[in-house]
Symmetry: D2
Subunit: 148 residues, 4 copies
């Protein structure tokens, strides 16, 4: 991971208002990997007291993008073009831990997998898994905006 890639990964995590608002924080960053943690609050839930699928999707997508950003050249950025998430079990507990890992790093397209675990009474269980397809695009603001 170059320091440029690291910069872009940090920019994604620190610079996204929705992610700050949600409360997601970075746990660790590696070569094609990223781990994030979300301390659960009442506002993250759906109508039956479980973590909303949208919360799980948000952190799965964002952690995947950050993992993907660790493997791109300077001046480039990642953009989610699609993702799919399977919600395997009702999610509840003290916090969510999301681990993302690049499955395939390409020149213009990368594919990343994210696993979301719920931690309840210190026990961790896989609650959802996502596959995220990223486009590698010119970094916005550095060059003229590119559309995929």
């Amino acid at each position: 991971m170059t320091s440029t890639a690291h910069d872009e990964a940090r920019r994604i995590l620190d610079g996204a208002p929705f992610i700050r608002d949600l409360g997601l924080r970075l746990e660790s960053l590696g070569e094609g990997t990223c781990t994030t943690v979300l301390d659960l609050e009442e506002r993250h839930l759906q109508q039956d007291g479980f973590v909303h699928a949208g919360v799980q999707a948000t952190i799965a997508d964002h952690t995947a993008g950050t993992a993907g950003a660790t493997l791109i050249p300077a001046g480039r950025a990642v953009l989610s073009i699609e993702f799919k998430i399977n919600l395997l079990r009702p999610a509840r507990g003290e916090r969510l831990v999301c681990r993302a890992k690049v499955l395939r790093a390409g020149k213009s397209v990368s594919v990343v997998e994210s696993e979301v675990h719920a931690v309840e009474d210190g026990r961790e269980r896989l609650v959802s898994k996502a596959t995220v397809t990223l486009a590698i695009v010119p970094r916005p603001g550095k060059t003229k905006e590119g559309s995929a």
Copy 2:
């Protein structure tokens, strides 16, 4: 749409803390359809000023669930088991409008499509499209909790 189905659809929308916190509001509800609106704020954005994919995924999933809930029997509830979303264009503007429509209503599984449109300067553009698979399960709290 029975009044029971309507009740369940309203319960989903009004009773989910994450949806209230996001600011999503109901526009209309029909037989197997639902339309919601989100007035965009800075906190909904990602690092480059576009609406975060997680926001789009959340409203696509939730509006789909509400549409699906209009077609289920009394005492049942819907649970997202998986969804896939394609992010077609960078999303920005004053608000998002999400229209969900049931593609296939089954006894135990339903499939719903959601289209998310961004409204900018009064002009509406399709920004993402999702396919959501719902399990039809016993309504939590009414009977013992069922796990799919």
Copy 3:
């Protein structure tokens, strides 16, 4: 649709051994659309007498690629980077009809939807629906091979 795009769409359909072997034939080709037909035989079925999901996926993907190819510039080709298919009902009958339509045509990525219908006793029913993401790449053999 330029005649070049039409050429590429025909090349895809006529030039793919697996598609010829399957028996898929072109019904019509338009601007961003394609319709194909498969006359069903016993060899297309799974263990319970329904059309195999793999047959439906193959024609959904291929018809989508052909629809996408009608909107690309000369010298370019399409390549499926991912797709998702929902199998809505058991499929059986005399033939399958697949209609694909481009949802979003981009410079480097296009998104196409395919609907697969089964025709049984003259009655047509939607049996599956797919969303296909295509990369727009240099046409193989015309320039050096590009990897996405």
Copy 4:
């Protein structure tokens, strides 16, 4: 794996005409796992000489269903309700090896992942990865047909 589950897994593999026609053969079967092999022929290819996405999707789906069937009770069967596949690299070589593994085995829904590898000159490379959602339904012919 009970011998009943093993029976159902074998029935799926041996009893599906499309799978026999394709040439897919069983390599091994475990508790929630299945490995299959396809010796590649010219008829499995697309227009540019690579293995058709439909072939990869077919074996990913079918191997996933077989893996899922190893974990179900007697009298039940699996039915794919949806799957998503990412095509990571152009696939070519002597054969494909597909390894499926159950991610979550539920009472009514299971989720299975399949990895497809291409073997070229004895070297194995991951070419696609799929996530398959299965419904667990009454076994057709044993009880009245159930529709999900």
